[in-house]
């Protein structure tokens, strides 16, 4: 293949991943609203370019840690979307057998070490994963996703210092969608922002337009290459916008409608699609929609977990009687 067709293939693959994430989350939000999926989902619609642009530079052996808003990271890392949809519905056959739900999806087979219901909690875990990788001389790196809200938690500071101190192979990805739940993060954050904080601890930082997947891909490629080359941790500050509310049922009344509308005009999917063959794009989007609708139907048809599953995988010694 020529390098031009390589480039096109990469773009098509990224478009497919973004379309699959969006279709997955559209179904997930609908299922949450209808009550078919119990509990809460946090959609990342509008932010797909960050997950996809970063994960396009990762290998299967690489690990990621994720957040409460983690469907995109999981799918971009290659997690099984059908199992994820079953998990959201609390069904047997879900990624975690129905015991985790949206906020605890993990797929260890592809290095997805888990979403997390605690803001910032993935940062120390990513540091330790990288330390283990170093100790076992594995050829792999860790990408650690977190939101802009996480930079106000202590583990963020600890983790930046720690990763820099031990020169760990970690790519920190701050998905700055501007909000921490219902609060504009700038209203509760002093100082120069996430990148400045990372650099203060000795982690070099780069900024990128997270709504431009090609830009994310290009910067991530550079940072990942540095990390693989032994350059130590790197920080990527990706600006983006959360189209939906904090959860699938939050109307986001705390922000002007025009702001969200403007973000929709910057759609990472449409921006990439504009560079590709429209027929191919339409086919990819239709395929993604059909795939995820199929997964949702499969989830509704799937059995509930065995009642006994509530008591398995607690612990070996002293397990529930």
């Amino acid at each position: 293949m020529s390098s031009a067709s390589n480039e096109t293939a990469r773009r098509v693959a990224m478009l497919r991943d973004m379309a699959r994430i969006r279709a997955f989350e559209r179904e997930a939000v609908a299922a949450m609203r209808s009550g078919e999926a119990p509990g809460v989902v946090h959609p990342s619609i509008g932010q797909e370019g960050v997950a996809v642009g970063v994960c396009a530079n990762l290998r299967r052996a690489d690990r990621i840690t994720s957040t409460h808003r983690g469907h995109g990271h999981a799918i971009a890392k290659g997690a099984d979307a059908r199992a994820m949809m079953l998990e959201l519905h609390g069904r047997a056959g879900g990624s975690c057998g129905g015991k985790g739900g949206s906020m605890h999806i993990a797929d260890f087979a592809v290095g997805m070490l888990g979403a997390n219901g605690v803001v910032g909690a993935g940062i120390p875990i990513a540091c330790g994963a990288a330390q283990a990788i170093r100790l076992t001389k594995e050829d792999a790196i860790v990408a650690c996703f977190f939101g802009d809200g996480a930079v106000n938690r202590g583990p963020f500071l600890e983790g930046m210092n720690w990763a820099a101190l031990y020169r760990l192979p970690v790519l920190f990805v701050c998905e700055d969608n501007g909000f921490a739940a219902f609060t504009r993060n700038s209203a509760v954050t002093a100082g120069g922002g996430p990148a400045v904080r990372a650099e203060a601890c000795g982690v070099p930082a780069a900024a990128v337009d997270g709504e431009d997947v090609l830009a994310v891909d290009a910067v991530a490629a550079e940072l990942v290459a540095r990390i693989r080359g032994g350059g130590g941790p790197q920080f990527l500050h990706a600006k983006c916008y959360r189209w939906e509310g904090h959860t699938g049922t939050d109307a986001a009344a705390y922000r002007p409608a025009e702001e969200a509308a403007a973000a929709r005009d910057r759609d990472c999917i449409r921006r990439l699609a504009a560079l590709l063959d429209p027929d191919e794009v339409a086919a990819i989007e239709a395929e993604a929609a059909a795939e995820m609708a199929g997964h949702r139907a499969a989830a509704m048809a799937a059995p509930w977990p065995d009642a006994g599953a509530a008591f398995t995988d607690v612990q070996d010694a002293g397990a529930p009687a």
Partner: protein
């Protein structure tokens, strides 16, 4: 058998585990310097600073990194310095480490050890003296062990390192320098098996951790023939041995250094009563600390510390 201190026994056990398994490593503050009680002394020289890692004062990340490292196939020994500092890493221990295997449907395991020396020691006052074992026995997913002798410190540490469960090892700060006989070949001690330290029909005495030598001395001095159980691990704990003994003696005393209110002694008594029925015991008592912080001044601290004299008096009371 060799006579050695608690710290030396624990040090040997970890060194042997690290020789046996290259995936075992330790992280915590001041470990390269031997740890604050000397329990890591010489280990960085033998195993290098990639496996004996001195960390920043970053308890959340010490704990959380231990988890990440366990999920990537290594077996970390996480050192909290003292149990009180675990409070800076509670999310990582309680909501991450204890939960991952379950939440992820068995995909990953937090096969790691968290060491947290606890209890009163050298007038350390309110923030450096707490006994928090009951907090952690309450958390599904955790194994909790609390050795009271050098031999058990070594054997339980080996079991903890080899366990696929996350194991909290609460070593009594006051006993690091205490001496005892340790087998030449240290074998892992299974969790949930108590050590019976004395035998007698007058009553059943249950204890663990720093109270073990205190209770043993008290039992000798009391002149009362009692069954004394050192539980060694608190979750799982040896319910069968304690219940069988209490059924025979019908008298139960539980002694622990922690605050009595909501202490693990409440669980021991409740289980025995559930097993024997409400009329199954003629006498029962919990002996622990009053619900007050630990004071600094030596005479004040002594007023809270359980002495062999006070325990012996309780033994006589419960024996009737």
């Amino acid at each position: 058998m060799t006579r050695m201190t608690f710290a030396e026994a624990a040090r040997r056990a970890l060194a042997e585990e690290m020789r046996r398994d290259p995936l075992v490593w330790a992280l915590g503050e001041d470990l390269v310097q031997g740890g604050i009680f000397g329990q890591y002394k010489g280990l960085s020289e033998e195993f290098g600073t990639d496996r004996i890692v001195s960390t920043p004062i970053s308890e959340s990340t010490i704990m959380g990194a231990g988890l990440g490292a366990a999920l990537c196939g290594t077996r970390p020994v996480v050192e909290m310095r003292i149990a009180d500092f675990t409070l800076c890493a509670m999310d990582e221990l309680v909501s991450q480490i204890a939960k991952v295997r379950y939440m992820f449907g068995g995909q990953g395991r937090a096969a790691l050890v968290v060491r947290m020396p606890q209890g009163m020691w050298r007038n350390s006052a309110a923030q450096h003296s707490q006994c928090l074992e009951a907090w952690l026995t309450h958390i599904p997913g955790l194994v909790v062990a609390a050795p009271g002798t050098p031999a058990d410190a070594a054997g339980l540490l080996k079991a903890a390192v080899r366990s696929d469960d996350p194991v909290v090892l609460m070593e009594p700060k006051n006993l690091w320098t205490a001496e005892g006989e340790v087998p030449a070949e240290i074998a892992p001690i299974p969790f949930g098996v108590a050590r019976q330290a004395a035998q007698g029909d007058a009553l059943t005495v249950v204890t663990w951790s720093a109270m073990v030598p205190v209770v043993e001395q008290a039992a000798r001095e009391s002149g009362v023939a009692c069954d004394v159980f050192d539980l060694r691990s608190l979750w799982p704990w040896d319910e069968a041995a304690v219940i069988a003994s209490a059924q025979r003696t019908a008298r139960l005393l539980v002694v622990h250094e922690a605050v009595t209110v909501s202490g693990f002694g409440a669980e021991v008594v409740a289980r025995v009563v559930e097993a024997l029925g409400p009329g199954g015991l003629k006498a029962v008592e919990r002996l622990g600390a009053p619900r007050a912080p630990i004071p600094f001044s030596p005479p004040l601290e002594d007023s809270i510390r359980l002495s062999p004299t006070r325990v012996a008096a309780a033994i006589r009371r419960v024996a009737g």
